[in-house]
Symmetry: C2
């Protein structure tokens, strides 16, 4: 089959042509499809059997251009290979934390996968102030296992470099290089922002220490092939309910710095924290949910760090450090110090790389629904100023960070300032 | 032609079978060949026409195992592809600073190239205290152009990542990962060292801050795909005479940290500096040549840094920093500060990564001729202790370095100590 973009009709023909997909339905005569993609790069169809509510699947197909920017931004359809490879690896390394893959069709640039019908996009849950009691445990397991087990701490050099070679992903990398690490901080025609924060946006674009730090982080993103990262792990790439967590949309995957994934997640929780200054007018409800977000940020980091170190202790098999390197008096202590150094560097990368993701949402081409759904521009500005301040400090002050308290302390300090604005104080 | 290892006879048949090579000789009936390889990985033949002294060429062929360790260390012959690609790129980017390539035969894993018959291996010149007045200028041009023009400072993201993908070189990387960054600093059966420095070797293997710093540098070597590096640029990989400089043997090439190449070169000058405490018994001659080496180290760094920055100013075309990023008041100043930061980081990488190369030569599997040619083990120990001290300090103190004076200052301090040993003081 040669490539053709599917629509709500032809996607049904496609399903009926594939044995693995046909087998999922008790009746093929009455399938229906709807396109639900709200992303920027792809078509997403839900194909279901209205007579049997449990029978459904998702088909995600790459378009040959970046959807949000139209046909003027061509992108290779090869990106669906990165998504399929990564989803299959997730299912192998962290079963149950990503959708199951039924078919990967390279020629059609599509993946047919499990329909997560009892889940919603995490960003939506967070705006609705839902608490997700198992989320920090689930996502820290995902992050620790995927990042550790694709790194030089776990793999031989040959294994890791072969895996890295299969994720050379320049087109999707360029999207993040441009729209996370560059264009938002300078004049670029696609940027847009709330005019209420025009002064703050202009100040960011003139802030020399910040801009130099962002460039250092961009170089890290572009050159440090540390582990297989999802590279777009914001709260729109995670499907949740109270019991379950699934990571989706890994088409940006490549070998990059681990901290970018952890950081994108945490900084999107900061974005949501800020949004509640506008969405949640009741001070007690706001404080309660913001405290929940702070605890979640802290828990994700602490659980991630503990699981990552435990995996390291139990699977010290990688090229980077052979066990015999520590065979000397005080060697065990030195190994412990090394692990602490390594994990502290991950914390600093998490803060800096993640904050580039939240900062750009305030002034680049793509906002997030947490913020863009705020109707009142003055209230929105309070949220945005909070995010700009926290993000800037996470970037500029990151080299001094040594624990989750450093991340959280800045959120608390800037939240006090935002509370005063909510209450009308200057 | 299927792969077969050539010998002094079959290499002549090979030359006669290749139109590009036949054309280099006025008479094919009387060619002679000799194998001259003193490396660890390959056969190297010089094919010449005894009746016409100007007619000769070199054929370098990869063996399917690591020669120095025998057939027990298999290596893919693909490494000759990396060497051929790199030599061709060198000829494109820095013409005249590498041998000309006549034929690259992928199936035979060989490269036929220019015979540098008026050159000698730089290590030999340095042991003989020859001064090379143009060397610092030549090699700084090579380093600045190759490193800058394969980096994200010069290339688009697509270009750089495609180039990087063609240099995924796990087998040769593993040799350096093992024998530069790991095994010498722990118990490993292939290590050997002068028993006179047994105490110093054991101290290195118990030195926690040093071992942790070496691991940081190893991770940088393994993960930072900054530019195409030669990755074995010691003074045995450079052919010289008073007028000319050629870089050879880039089979280890891959995308790694720039500082590893600059550092391998400078640290091999430190090795040679140390060797003269034994080779050059006349104090005035020793001081004169050691001063020449110090000036060469300083000149290489200063010329490299100046040329690298000039290339950057004239060719700021890469993915990392678009010119528009600096379009704000004080932007030009910020760009200058960024260049200074970037180059200072290169200096620190140069010191640390380079010093791993010299330190391992004192206690790993492969020594260097500068040192191994010293017959008296007590004199050899003076040289080795000097190299261990300088290397250790370059590694552990590198984060404080901001100029070539920091590199040179440590050499001078440790040279004073070594002079006292030469003179019999404790």
């Amino acid at each position: 089959m040669t490539y053709h973009a599917l629509d709500n009709n032809t996607v049904l023909d496609y399903v009926r042509s594939q044995p693995e997909l046909k087998a999922l339905f008790s009746d093929l005569s009455n399938l229906s499809a709807r396109e639900v993609g709200d992303g920027n790069l792809n078509m997403v169809f839900i194909v279901s059997n209205p007579r049997a509510p449990t029978e459904s699947l998702v088909i995600k197909q790459a378009l040959p251009y970046l959807r949000v920017l139209g046909e003027s931004y061509p992108l290779t359809r090869e990106r669906m290979r990165f998504e399929a490879q990564a989803l299959l690896l997730y299912n192998e390394l962290t079963p149950g934390l990503a959708p199951q893959v039924y078919v990967y069709d390279e020629k059609m640039s599509l993946v047919a996968m499990e329909h997560l019908k009892n889940h919603e996009v995490m960003r939506k849950s967070l705006v609705a102030r839902k608490q997700l009691p198992l989320f920090a445990d689930h996502i820290s397991t995902f992050l620790a296992h995927i990042l550790f087990k694709t790194s030089d701490l776990y793999r031989t050099g040959h294994e890791k470099k072969a895996l890295q070679a299969s994720y050379i992903n320049p087109s999707l990398c360029k999207i993040q290089e441009d729209f996370v690490f560059t264009n938002p901080y300078m004049e670029s025609p696609e940027n847009n922002w709330n005019t209420e924060i025009n002064a703050e946006v202009q100040a960011v674009r003139r802030n020399v220490p910040l801009k130099l730090a962002i460039l250092e982080l961009k170089e890290k993103y572009m050159t440090q092939g540390q582990a297989l990262i999802h590279s777009d792990l914001h709260t729109g790439s995670i499907m949740v309910n109270e019991q379950d967590t699934r990571v989706i949309d890994p088409e940006f995957s490549f070998f990059g710095p681990m901290g970018y994934d952890i950081g994108a997640l945490l900084s999107n929780l900061v974005l949501n924290f800020g949004a509640h200054f506008a969405h949640t007018r009741d001070a007690a409800a706001r404080a309660a949910y913001q405290n929940y977000l702070i605890e979640t940020i802290r828990d994700i980091w602490l659980l991630f760090a503990a699981k990552f170190e435990q995996l390291w202790l139990e699977n010290s098999t990688g090229e980077l450090v052979p066990n015999a390197y520590w065979h000397f008096p005080e060697g065990e202590t030195a190994f412990a110090v090394y692990r602490q150094h390594y994990i502290r560097q991950l914390l600093q990368d998490t803060a800096g790389l993640g904050a580039c993701e939240s900062l750009r949402r305030m002034m680049g081409v793509v906002s997030v629904w947490d913020i863009s759904s705020i109707g009142d521009n003055q209230l929105r500005a309070i949220a945005e100023r909070f995010v700009i301040r926290v993000s800037t400090r996470w970037i500029v002050e990151r080299s001094s960070f040594s624990s989750a308290d450093d991340l959280v302390g800045i959120i608390r300090e800037e939240a006090e300032r935002a509370e005063r604005s909510v209450n009308g104080d200057p």
